[in-house]
């Protein structure tokens, strides 16, 4: 518990760091909410109009005063209003987040469902032809950028079969599950492919390490069959690296997959942030980056807690 408290206590520090970085960075970029809204027509504004707009967007003060105001708002649970959406930032984020979360979960499920058995299989068939096959596929999988894969999938579907992935307006899971899955499956496969390859590789090497551990020998000396040894004794011990990898990947996926969202036309967090940066929607950029950083840290914390559940040797706090 103590560890949890101390860990949570570092959250604000990191979040402050993240927010200051974003806050300053986004304001260093030429152009502001006004030019984003008006484009070249902004040149037609009189100075008075410009000032009025600046006041409207809240960008008429030095950045540290703006930051202070923003932090004050944050303390009241108010992330500000998105100027492009005309809605509270949190509402905008929470509208996009279910898709990102679902996509990340699907990708992880695919990665684990494919990667773990493949890794275990390869490890138990070490140095055989089948092991080599798995390793080659995993290596290629890990080397395929997801945007290349996405384009290849779309190209293959359209050139080879004359069909294209379901796009069109996004349907949330609870409204139209079938359509939702048909929209998310290919993106999830795209994201899950390299992820699965990494899971395969790491679970294979972890299994190989574990299979040479003393307690595996002990289990065999007790007369445990190969299957028992692998699934009951070795696998739980090989999970830690897999959990670490999956946690990190999942944490990043929660931040949105900018390019894949772009290619598959999905309204996820990644594209929202990209748009928000381009639209100079300061409040939205700040809020969403903070949100992502927070999620990332929570996922990391969960990963650490998972270690404890997986391995009683690990006591938290010894870093």
């Amino acid at each position: 518990m103590n560890y949890l408290m101390r860990r949570l206590a570092t959250f604000p520090l990191v979040l402050i760091g993240v927010s200051v970085l974003v806050f300053v960075a986004i304001r260093m970029v030429p152009g502001d909410s006004i030019t984003a809204m008006l484009g070249t027509e902004a040149g037609l504004l009189t100075p008075a109009q410009r000032d009025a707009l600046a006041a409207y967007f809240g960008i008429d003060q030095p950045w540290f005063i703006q930051y202070w105001r923003w932090v004050l708002g944050l303390l009241h649970g108010n992330l500000g209003i998105s100027v492009t959406y005309g809605k509270p930032v949190l509402d905008v984020i929470l509208e996009r987040f279910p898709l990102t979360l679902e996509l990340a979960l699907l990708a992880m499920i695919i990665a684990l469902a494919v990667g773990m058995p493949a890794g275990v299989f390869a490890a138990t068939h070490n140095e055989k032809l089948s092991d080599l096959g798995v390793r080659v596929v995993a290596m290629i999988g890990q080397s395929t950028p997801n945007f290349v894969l996405a384009l290849l999938i779309i190209y293959t579907l359209s050139a080879g079969f004359g069909v294209l992935p379901t796009m069109g307006a996004f349907s949330p899971l609870w409204q139209d599950p079938l359509r939702n899955l048909s929209q998310l499956l290919l993106p999830a496969v795209t994201l899950g492919f390299a992820f699965a390859a990494s899971v395969t590789r790491i679970s294979r090497s972890a299994m190989l390490d574990v299979l040479s551990d003393d307690y595996v020998r002990t289990a065999r000396s007790k007369g445990a069959s190969n299957r028992t040894v692998i699934w009951r004794h070795a696998l739980p011990n090989a999970l830690i690296p897999v959990v670490t990898l999956s946690g990190i990947e999942f944490g990043y996926l929660l931040g949105g997959a900018v390019i894949v969202e772009q290619i598959y036309a999905l309204p996820g967090l990644g594209r929202m942030i990209l748009d928000a940066i381009l639209q100079r929607d300061y409040a939205l950029v700040q809020g969403s980056v903070l949100f992502i950083a927070f999620n990332f840290m929570i996922v990391n914390l969960l990963v650490d807690l998972a270690y404890v559940a997986l391995d009683p040797r690990i006591r938290l706090g010894e870093r």
Partner: protein
């Protein structure tokens, strides 16, 4: 009738071409029901591989049995050929007929499963027990190895138990289904000497109870004197000699057996101490090292802000002095604070209190900036693998502001020669040397600065017994030659007996007894010293019965501000005193 186990001309090889890489070359023996065979040998002798071949676990370690036969007589007197058996057949034999325990109890138990689950597994596999029945059987198994509070301990995971306890759990597990053969592969090597004594006692007792046969593998011929019926000595993959216990111990035929019995340190209760360089009282010489009231404490932090809530009293008021040319051995078990004492003297850990002074050497011109040097336990970790030997030896010189010139080079070459390594070693890298050679390199490095005191922290513990003997010889020679004072930290009483002039016994951070080596070893006064000495296995104590003792080492964590009572001493002679016990 056929013996329980019969092995003939066993050959085991490794790698892609096992015939060419044989590790076991034609070993054979018979083992009768209820008999104990000890297989003795040093690392690389093939003793463990022989053992692992019996239940065919060697297959999983990359080995292949290339020849010979292994036959087991089963409970129904049918003969079972272990070499031709299929894997499913073997899983029925393992655990049920042949149990096995291993060297490292800490790593040999699955860290993520409770010990209860792991013991129950044996019952599930061979007895078909499940649920409450299995749990009850597991509790009985723990009771059988004398683990107190067994029902509660079933819920523990291995990390919550000490090494000695874990080895008992291992034994409980191996014996769960009453195998008729137990293979024990160096089961006590990783344990402290008093714990080792208890495990040995337990094994002897269980053997009596169950009438099982046992194969006991060890590098310490002294250890098996208490338990074995027969001994087989292995060297280089071959059994060089085998026979009855007494015959081997008293009339060894093979030179290697003789070497193991005589050249290698065995504990002799103070009869084998050094006769040279004894301390003479009131000679007025300055001590080479004087330690006064050394205290080392590590804060224990807890709570949200990490405030110190107590302290580990690792070393709690240690004083001693060390004369030039003298060896003071500090003996104690793991966690007693002996290594911390050494590290504090070298400044590697910060001492909380206390003073040390290192005396001047005889000639001022030769005086070193750093009179105390150290040799570490692990010869594989104490040399930087990326530096050549020349760079390693030059480092102390560079560190003290010296330059690497012709004179330094001459000195390096001379020291290498002195520790028994060729001069050409200078251009080589640590991985090209064996453990013993590396320890020699470490000694040479320590001598580069002409120290007056060398701290040897378990300096020979990691070495094979015969290598150990030779390094000890070298140390004694060097001591005479350079007038070095040694602070020799060790847990091994046999080694200490060979090298120490004086002995300090340390327990829970305090010296409980100190004095002349012969008197301390032959007439221990403090109860802990007595217990320690009683636990040391010797060739003389054959088939001895050990007392079981389940006391735990006291916690060294004390509340903030805790100060131990000042020590009171009983004097037992001119140079022998022991702490008064409460």
């Amino acid at each position: 009738m056929m013996p329980l186990l019969s092995i003939t001309d066993l050959r085991v090889g490794f790698g892609r071409n096992p015939e060419a890489n044989e590790v076991v070359r034609g070993v054979g023996f018979d083992l009768a029901e209820g008999e104990t065979l000890a297989i003795v040998g040093e690392s690389g002798s093939g003793k463990s591989v022989t053992a692992l071949s019996i239940n065919r676990l060697v297959d999983y370690g990359g080995g292949r049995i290339t020849g010979g036969s292994i036959k087991l007589r089963r409970a129904d007197n049918s003969v079972f050929d272990l070499l031709t058996a299929t894997e499913p057949q073997l899983t029925k034999i393992r655990g049920a007929e042949i149990g096995m325990i291993f060297q490292e109890p800490m790593t040999s138990l699955n860290p993520v499963l409770t010990i209860g689950t792991q013991i129950e597994e044996s019952f599930r596999l061979h007895r078909g027990l499940t649920g409450r029945q299995a749990t009850a059987a597991a509790k009985d198994a723990l009771d059988r190895v004398r683990i107190p509070d067994a029902a509660r301990r079933l819920e523990y995971t291995p990390n919550q138990l000490s090494g000695g306890m874990l080895q008992r759990v291992m034994i409980a597990m191996a014996l769960a289904c009453n195998p008729r053969l137990l293979i024990a592969d160096e089961p006590t090597t990783a344990l402290d000497v008093t714990v080792q004594a208890q495990i040995m006692a337990l094994l002897a007792e269980l053997k009596r109870e169950t009438g099982m046969s046992m194969i006991f593998i060890t590098h310490d011929i002294g250890l098996v004197a208490g338990i074995a019926d027969k001994i087989m000595v292995m060297q280089g993959g071959e059994a060089v000699e085998q026979g009855e216990l007494n015959q081997i111990l008293d009339h060894p035929q093979h030179p290697y057996t003789q070497h193991l019995l005589h050249a290698v340190p065995h504990f002799a209760s103070g009869r084998a101490t050094r006769s040279d360089g004894r301390r003479e009282q009131d000679k007025g010489t300055e001590p080479a090292l004087k330690v006064d009231g050394l205290v080392v404490r590590f804060p224990v932090k807890s709570g949200f802000f990490g405030r110190a809530s107590g302290a580990v009293h690792a070393v709690d008021g240690v004083d001693f002095d060390l004369m030039p040319g003298e060896t003071l051995a500090i003996v104690g078990e793991s966690g007693s604070g002996k290594s911390t004492t050494a590290r504090a003297i070298l400044g590697l850990v910060r001492s909380t209190r206390g003073t040390f002074s290192a005396g001047a050497r005889k000639a001022a011109a030769e005086q070193s900036a750093l009179p105390v040097q150290m040799v570490f336990q692990n010869p594989y970790a104490s040399l930087n693998p990326r530096l050549s030997i020349a760079s390693i030896l030059a480092e102390p010189v560079i560190a003290t502001g010296g330059r690497v010139n012709a004179q330094t080079r001459t000195k390096m070459a001379a020291l290498l020669k002195r520790v028994g390594l060729p001069e050409s070693s200078l251009e080589r890298y640590p991985h090209e040397f064996s453990g013993g050679q590396r320890q020699r390199l470490c000694i040479a490095r320590a001598l580069m600065l002409n120290p007056s005191v060398v701290v040897l922290d378990e300096a020979v513990s990691a070495l094979d017994v015969s290598v150990q003997a030779r390094v000890l010889e070298l140390l004694v020679e060097l001591q005479r030659e350079f007038g070095l004072a040694y602070l020799f930290i060790s847990h091994d009483m046999a080694v200490v007996e060979r090298i120490a002039h004086r002995i300090a016994v340390i327990y829970a951070g305090q010296i409980v007894e100190i004095g002349d080596a012969t008197s301390v070893l032959s007439e221990p006064k403090h109860s802990y010293t007595k217990k320690l000495i009683a636990a040391v296995p010797t060739i003389d104590r054959r088939r001895e019965h050990f007392e079981l003792d389940t006391r735990q080492v006291p916690s060294l964590v004390r509340p903030l501000g805790f100060e131990p009572e000042p020590a009171r001493w009983d004097e037992f002679g001119p140079d022998h005193r022991a702490r008064v016990e409460a």
